[in-house]
Symmetry: C2
Subunit: 335 residues, 2 copies
Amino acid sequence: MKIAIDAFGGDNAPLEIVKGAITAVNLIDDLQVVLVGKKQPIEDILKEYGYVGDKIEILEADEVITNEESPTTAIRTKKNSTIVVGCNRLKDDEDVVAFISAGSTGAILSGGVFIVGRMAGVMRPALAPTLPNVKGGQTLLIDCGANVDCKPEYLVQFAQMGSLYMQNVCGIKNPKVGLLNIGAEDKKGNSLTHEAFPLLSEAKNINFVGNVEARDLLSGEVDVIVADGFAGNIALKASEGAIKNMLKLLKSEISNAGLFAKLGAGMMKGTFKKLKKNLDYNLYGGTAFLGVNKIVLKTHGTATAETILSCALQVKQIYESGIIDKLKESFAENL
Amino acid sequence: MKIAIDAFGGDNAPLEIVKGAITAVNLIDDLQVVLVGKKQPIEDILKEYGYVGDKIEILEADEVITNEESPTTAIRTKKNSTIVVGCNRLKDDEDVVAFISAGSTGAILSGGVFIVGRMAGVMRPALAPTLPNVKGGQTLLIDCGANVDCKPEYLVQFAQMGSLYMQNVCGIKNPKVGLLNIGAEDKKGNSLTHEAFPLLSEAKNINFVGNVEARDLLSGEVDVIVADGFAGNIALKASEGAIKNMLKLLKSEISNAGLFAKLGAGMMKGTFKKLKKNLDYNLYGGTAFLGVNKIVLKTHGTATAETILSCALQVKQIYESGIIDKLKESFAENL
């Protein structure tokens, strides 16, 4: 299994990305990595960390697309950027099964659609993170930012893609699908959810259970939450922010508390660590961009070596599940 | 100051509501309360809790609008419901300054618009909760559910109403206004935020600082967050859910932890209590429905006596700030 990785995407590139690639090829037997980026810095890091094997290849690309650039323009004009070069390699080399990047989300999505290509029958590919829920399982949120203005029919396809993913990659039988809405009652919502609700109720190949509220994002009540990319992104970031701010508040409460409580906090260190680990998105790898012809994985801009390892393990799971072919078959039927 | 309170709204009505009213009139010197609902049960509770003063009046209303009913139909047909009777009293009695209810949000909004009446010049009244932020202050989120499909011009008025509120009720000078969006960069967003952004940049009487992400809902970076009611509701409920689920996870981690950590948790009890109090929306009273002619306050369906007391204190603050007249003046200028 060969994976292309953007060595210059994210805040900690290239060091953490290259370190992550080394760890991944050392840990995963059949893995080969193509590191995309400037040759010299990558070689220096490989040397510094004593990597001498033949499981890492370097693919020269001397430009980087920043978050400030217009993604579609950048994809058209920066032909030698890591994302364009990486996506082209993914498209052209049948041995390469996936491209992973912690770079500009917009550019990764544009590269996915315009270079790797949209699957036949899919109207809009969508970003689909799996979130750890409090029941100990995972909930897939689709879309969470690729399509900010959606038609109701897109949401039906998101539900179908998400269900296939949860069935095949996460082993959930007959996954429950909920529509992200502002109330659980059938009639709730805005014009988009009003129109999407009956379409979802009638759609084939999904187990639609009705509306879910944003407070159920992490509760594990459903396996797939369908949303337009704007609302999905708001829900995801509000949850992340609330957790982050709550931990901040807890920390400041502890530092303002008396000696007794501080001692208590010290005794609970292991519990806090475990909680933080449960909520650490870095350990959950990346977000799959579903509906393009091969595996494209977007990971956090703050990705560390650990994140890259998680992404490689996630790609392995996605690849071995055969989900890409299953999605292709399923949507080809609609044509 | 006289306030009408829906004695039969919410899960804990009428007991907790009536208890809350007793506490409020005992604590707030110049307060008088009109309890709206079935006379006998209210009288029984007043008697049970030994209330004998003349600061509580009962206004008979023998119907209750449920969450399952269509709000606009219910407001038209259930003329003797607590919300219709309460809103009519608010409209007709110049001594009554506010109506508080923990009942059906939709019915309270409909009652506000169709009975109490929209302010001249205001296109759409909006729900505007003030959320405790980690800087120790408050952030106003407007709208969070009254208007699920918005035009860009509505968002400008939400920003203006929210700014006036934060200035006059919360004493924030030149409050910073942010537009809820999926990225901080100016060009981010869906078609609504794209159109609203330049309008907000040019609008008078507001200090617009650009886009804010949902993760900043509780960070205190801005004083007013403007959103369409769908996105605002999603952000609010995702935050609430994340915090609730995280506390649940923490609790289960503690119960699975060793004796040492359990002992530590015991020693931290005070700190946890303080944290929970910080995050407890019950202590923050209700959500103002801005843009109607008088003060209408919607509070949680789970409202307790403590919540009702908080709501009464909040109404006092809103009333004494003179915000209703200031809003009326400001929007009359637009006519």
